[in-house]
Every structure is written in C-alpha cells, then in structure tokens.
Subunit: 196 residues, 4 copies
C-alpha cells in the first residue's frame, strides 16, 4: 500500500508528463503542474528538489519502463519474431503512454540540449534493445551480414515512433494490430507489388 507521499509523487508525475507533452518543458510551469495534480505549489518542492529534478526523474523512469517493455518483448524469441515483437511493444507503449512518447520526441532530439544526457540514455537503452535484436538476426543469417545495425535500429525506432504518433492523432480508433501489421510489412520488405 503506497504511502501518502508516494501517492502525491505519482500524481505529480502524471500531471507533469501530460503538461510537458503538450507544451514542452520550458513552457510548462510549476503552477500548472501543481494545479493539475490538485496540490499546492509548495508541495511540488516538498517532493522534488526542483522542476529540473522532477523532469529528470520522469525521463529516467519512463525510459526505463520503455526499455524494459522492449527487452521483455524480445526475450526468448527467434530474431525476426523478436523484431516484430519489439515493434509491437513500442507501439503498445506509445498507445498507453502517449504523453511520454511525445515528450521524448519533443525534448530530446535537440542539438546542444540541456537534456542531452537523457537523449543518449534513450538511444543507448531503447534503440540499444532494437540493435541487439538486429545483431542477433544478422548472426542468425536472417539479415545480411553487412547491415549497418546501428543505423537500422535508429530507423526502426524513428519509423515506429512517427507512425505511432500520427496514428494516435489522426486515427486513434484504428486497432493496434492493424498498425502493427503495416509496420511489420514495411520492415520485412513485403510491400513490393505483384512480380512483373
């Protein structure tokens, strides 16, 4: 059973993720976070050292969950199946934590960036899982030996992220399986027309 403090922190997490996803880190104020969480402004500072610290913990927490979801999906599968499963897991994660996904896109792909560490974290953890799967597929002979694994992993991650956000924005009613199928087809090179 969570303590009162736990519950307050959780409420602040959620409020912060939603607001930052909508307006960005800088444009989100501590006042707004407190209001949406239903607590007084002082309470934010009773629970977190600063606005930046709240955001940092948030990112860490979210990226950890994303990476864990991807790792779990890949475990114990044959390489190509694992790739499909990882794509499915990324889609599912975005479907459930859409706000966090937008936050990821919006705040981490900067040039100099105040959150460059976080960005590296994401590449290393989330894209790293995809790269591992691709490497296994290459080792298994499923993908050709000279594939640039790092670049391909980055491509897969970005492709899924972009498509997933367009999905949530433009056709949220569409079932996940549908989107998943299209993405897998794209990845497997199955979009060619009838042999001529």
């Amino acid at each position: 059973m969570p303590t009162r403090r736990e519950r307050t922190r959780q409420r602040l997490y959620e409020a912060a993720v939603e607001l930052i996803a909508e307006h960005g880190y800088s444009a989100t104020t501590v006042d707004q976070i407190a209001e949406r969480a239903g607590v007084a402004k002082g309470t934010v500072y009773y629970n977190f050292a600063s606005k930046a610290a709240l955001f940092g913990e948030l990112l860490e927490y979210g990226v950890e969950r994303l990476a864990a979801a991807l790792r779990t999906a890949a475990e114990g599968r044959a390489p190509l199946d694992a790739l499909d499963a990882v794509v499915g897991a990324e889609l599912a994660f975005i479907g459930q934590y859409e706000a966090f996904a937008r936050l990821l896109l919006a705040e981490t792909w900067r040039a100099g960036g105040d959150w460059q560490n976080a960005a590296r974290l994401i590449r290393e953890r989330a894209i790293g899982v995809i790269a591992d799967v691709l490497r296994a597929a290459v080792a298994n002979g499923d993908l050709r030996a000279d594939l640039d694994v790092g670049m391909a992993a980055s491509a897969v991650f970005g492709m899924v992220l972009t498509v997933a956000l367009d999905w949530r924005t433009l056709q949220p009613a569409r079932p996940l399986t549908d989107v998943h199928a299209t993405l897998v087809d794209l990845l497997r090179g199955r979009i060619a027309g009838p042999a001529t």
Copy 2:
C-alpha cells in the same frame, strides 16, 4: 538586390533557427536571437510582431523549402526512383539545414500544442509529397494495391528524419551517399540475409 529590411529579417531567421533548434522555442530568448543576429533587441520587434510570429513565419518558410526540395526531387522520375530521390532530397535538406530539422522534430510533434497548425502543415506538405510518390508507385503496380499509403509515407518521413539526425550527431563525417544507400535498402526490403 535585397533591401536593408530584407537582409535584417534573413539574419534574424537564421539566428532564430539555430537557437531554437538547440534550446527549444520557450528556452530561447529574444535577447539571444538579437545578439546572434548582431542587431539590437528592438530590431527584432521592428521586424516581427512578436517572438511567436517570428517562429511562425520561420516554420512556414522552412516547410515550404523542404516541400519544394522533395517535390523537385520527385519530378519526372519513375515511381520507385522518385522514392529514392525523395529520400535523398530529405537527407540532403537535413544535412544542409540540420537546425531546422531538429526544430521540426522538437516543436511540432506535440499533443495539444500551440503549433498544431504548423504540424498539420508539415504533414500535409512534406509528407504529402512522399504519399504522392507512393500512390504513383501503387498505381504503377510497383507496390501492392492495399498498401496504407498515408501510414507508409509517415513511416518513411520519420525514419529518414531520425536516421539523419543520428547521422549528424554520431557520425557526421560519414558521406551522405552511404546513409542514403542504407535507407534505400531498408525501404526496398533488401535487408534479408542469404536465402536459407
């Protein structure tokens, strides 16, 4: 020959794009923009109604250039060649206007967003060009008839954008043709290993 005002506006455009790409819209101050452009702060406001207006015009201008580059690349080519060319053009654009590309990713993929109009603009103009190419490929029998063109276009755009930015960040020395080749292979489904 550009007027004095024209030249000043151009300098402000450039300064703003770079800064916003690095720190985001909210975290970039008008002072910084003015300083980098080498003008006084008041000059920013003499030339643009507000910080938001400057950013708005900026997005419009950049998206227009990107869409034009993609359209030009596609023109007069057979569908699948056009797809390769469009990917190449997007890569080239990002290589040249990296700052603008980061800004696009960082500021437009928000949920509610103050720049939702801009986001729609991008989807309609830039991704629209890709969708047109894919549609032509389907009509030509190069891609299968039931392909979800909209989703595929979004996937291509996001994949290229993500890869390109990782390329600029992690291995800027690598030649564009190299990256282009990998992306085209991915798109054409040529990454399968030796037939088993």
Copy 3:
C-alpha cells in the same frame, strides 16, 4: 482581523492611488507601486492580475466609498439641507482622499478611453446621488419645476471637485467649513450684492 493577503492588497491600493494621482496611470510604474507599498514587484502580480486590473478595482472601490459617503450625508434631511450636506460630504471626502479625487479627474474624463466604464460608473453613482437630492427638492417645491436635474447635478459635482482641488493646492490651511460656506452660498444664489 484581516488576513495577510488582505493587508498586502490594502497597502497596494494606497500606494497606487497616491502615485497615479500624481503622475497618472500610464506614467506610474509597477515598480514604483511595489516600492511605495514596501513589497517586491512580484507581489503586485500575486495579488492583482495586471496593472490595469489593479487600477480597475481601485476605481470601483473608491467610487463606492464616495457614493456611500454622499448617500449617508443626504439621508433623513430636508432636500435643501441634504444638498448642503452632500456638498459638505464631497468636500470632506476630497479633503481626506485627495489623491483619489485627482485620479478621478485625471483619468476618467477622457473621450474614448480605456476607463469609460469607470467614468460611467462615477456619473451614475456619485452624480446620481446629487441628482436624487435635486429631484427631491424639485418635488418639494424648493427648486423650480423645469430645472434640468441631470445637468445641475453634473454642475454641482464638477464645481465642488474643482474648488476642492484648488483649495487643497492653493490654500490647504483654510478650514473646510469656510470653503463649504462659500460653495453653499454660490449654490443658493446668495452671492448677489445689496439690492439696488
């Protein structure tokens, strides 16, 4: 017992009235108001939505007090006595809240005006009380039946205001009763010389 917030707001009211009376609304800065009230600039904005809102609440508050003072003075008196009393009350009010009276003159008699609402308020509330007294005097047969009550009320109000401010500026030592007597004589038509 007033809350802390109440006390701060009151201090801000007083500081603002004095400064605006001296320099006008536009020429008075929020910095000055905060300094005279002995609080930080941010505190002004914690207590009022904006400089304009502070001024608006100020006017409302002051006009309400003025109208109340005039109404109280008139109550339970015969019409002509009531008129004398109302003039006395206006004089006393200006004597005590000179700053507010100057502010009234300076900021509300504009043409298009951002404070036209406030101006109308004043006419309706303060001048309205005088008009009521005059109307009662007409009904009582003390003043002639075809008197333009609205115009006369406006005349009385303006006459007293102008005289009172000249009094405070030029001969502040002079007792109120003296000024009151002269004004009442003027109003009652007792300034004619010896019958010829």
Copy 4:
C-alpha cells in the same frame, strides 16, 4: 499662405490633441501621432524637438486661444453680462475644441505633476479672466463685497467644464444655448422654486 512646414505642424497638432484627449499624454505614442497625421515618424522629430515639446507647445497654444476667447467675450460688457458671455465663450470653445478641453482636464489637475506649470498657466490665464469679471462685478456692487473671488472663479470654470463635457458625451445634439441658459440660471441663483 502657409508653408509646407506650417501645414505639417498643424496636422501634427491636431493629431496629437485628439489622441492625447482620448488616451492621455503617456499612453499616446509618437507612432500613433505620426500615423494619424499621415507622416513618417521621423517627421515628428523634424518638426518638434521632442514629444514633451510638442505637448508643451500644444498646451500653450490652446490655453492662449481659450484665454483670448474668454477675454474677448468679456470686453466692453457690464459685469454680470460679461459673466454670462464668458460662460458662453467657454462653452463654445469646448464645443469646438472638445478634445483640447478633455486634455486640459485629464493632464493638468495632477498633484505633483510634470505639467504643473501648465496647470498654473491655466489658472492664471483662463480662470484669471473669470476672476477679473467677478471682481468688476463686486466693484460695481452687483455681487456682495465679501465674495471669495478666486474660489468663485474656480467654481465657475470647473462647473462649466464638467457640464460641457457631459453635454458633449451624453446629449451632443442639444443646442448650446440651452446648456448656456441652464448654467446662467444656476450662476444667477435663479433656480429657487416659487416663494413659499
């Protein structure tokens, strides 16, 4: 025939008076003045040393005209007739130069005031004419000997000013003669009802 410069200055006078009457001196910008006058901003500074100088010349010019109008009206009349004529002249002046009258009220009745000189000027010139008339009436035995001439002059001036501006605002269609008649009745003490 006025020179080109003369005409420009005149247009700037008029634009400035109207704008300052509406929004006050501080709230009126040089940009607005230039725009309403139909000239470029630089032209304002080609013709006047500063915004304050423009306003100063404006006040001087206007007060001079007002005082002259009052003096002319009084000349060569018997004291009490002169009083009526002066009131009529003040009304006529305000009817014609309403904007200037509002400006006078709004900017000169301040406490500390940046335009205190101007305020003194007005009292001395405009109210002074009225005081002279009243003094003559006292000397002539038309008004009682112990009348406080200064205070009465101030009362007359303020009464007329207030009534005139309410007239222009609330019932501009009403003829001047009507307003004049009511004011004169008030001044002559002719508002008493039927003798009881």
